[in-house]
């Protein structure tokens, strides 16, 4: 899978076993599927963004923040329609952070777990300078913590009053995965 920002052909990562999920870049034509999760307050609860309130807002957000993101992939089912997305953010030269969001209808089925597993493997393969992949999860976001545990991330500890999210100070659980760690 290409990590090159200059790619002209979007490449596809197919998961194994085939037919579950695939990953590809988002496009503006995904806006209606995007709105399914972006307008959902339950989904937005632990995210830094407020629920989206209009199609225009969604188009603007996709244009300004999603399409410009250095590494973001739509999580798609067999019909190639996105049910969420997964992204990698640089922290510094050797560390990256992983984040993901999924429409509520698809929670609890292992889709996020599969996406995280695929992306984690791909990050270490395509970016050999990366020594650590980490994730920060709200202490109350048990579902997301389970995703990371199922992939094999190490729960390192709770960082107390670590971040201000939508005006409230939150404890965050720190997880990491190293290139030498085994997948579960």
């Amino acid at each position: 899978m290409e990590m090159d920002l200059n790619e002209t052909q979007p490449t596809v990562v197919v998961s194994s076993p085939p037919g579950r999920i695939s990953l590809r870049p988002m496009t503006l034509s995904d806006v209606d599927d995007y709105m399914v999760w972006a307008t959902d307050a339950e989904v937005a609860r632990f995210c830094s963004w407020e629920p989206c309130t209009s199609r225009e807002e969604a188009i603007k957000y996709i244009t300004d923040s999603v399409l410009t993101h250095p590494w973001l992939r739509a999580i798609c089912l067999e019909d190639d329609r996105p049910i969420g997305y997964i992204l990698i953010m640089p922290v510094d030269k050797i560390r990256k952070e992983i984040g993901y969001v999924l429409a509520r209808k698809y929670w609890g089925k292992g889709f996020a777990t599969e996406a995280v597993r695929l992306v984690t493997a791909e990050v270490f393969k395509a970016m050999p300078e990366v020594e650590r992949l980490e994730a920060l999860v709200d202490v109350d976001n048990v579902g997301s913590q389970r995703v990371l545990e199922k992939v094999g991330f190490t729960r390192e500890g709770v960082m107390r009053k670590f971040i201000v999210m939508k005006g409230s100070v939150r404890d965050m659980v720190m997880f990491s995965f190293l290139p030498t760690d085994p997948f579960k």
Partner: protein, 128 residues
């Protein structure tokens, strides 16, 4: 013993430094500020083990919370082998939150570090 805060801070700068020790201030979205103490050259190991660093940190901590009213959390990252520095933080009341693997990239080397934090409340100002 110190007769003034200034004396303690000078000691912190000049004598505590053989402990390579980086402290950061966490405000709003994660860490946006640093108090960094950089080691000076010279053999100051004669000053180790006398509680100077502990005293200096315990003086600095309430100052930081006083001077920066929006700060809720002070955090420190200490290399796993640096037991002396960990003891300083623990004596002052920092809580060890966990081991962060391959977290710190310093001088071309990658280190595992313990993350410690001291919260204005409840660590410094416990509820009655």
């Amino acid at each position: 013993s110190f007769t003034s805060e200034e004396e303690a801070l000078v000691f912190m700068r000049d004598a505590c430094l053989p402990h390579p020790w980086r402290r950061s201030i966490s405000i709003d979205d994660r860490s946006i500020g640093f108090i960094s103490v950089f080691p000076e050259t010279g053999d100051d190991s004669i000053n180790w083990g006398k509680g100077i660093a502990t005293r200096a940190v315990s003086i600095a901590v309430p100052q930081v919370f006083n001077d920066l009213p929006h700060v809720l959390r002070l955090q420190a990252f200490v290399q796993t082998q640096n037991k002396a520095s960990q003891r300083v933080l623990e004596k002052v009341g920092f809580q060890r939150e966990g081991l962060l693997r391959k977290y710190s990239y310093l001088k071309g080397e990658i280190h595992d570090v313990f993350v410690y934090s001291l919260l204005l409340s409840p660590d410094l100002l416990p509820l009655p």
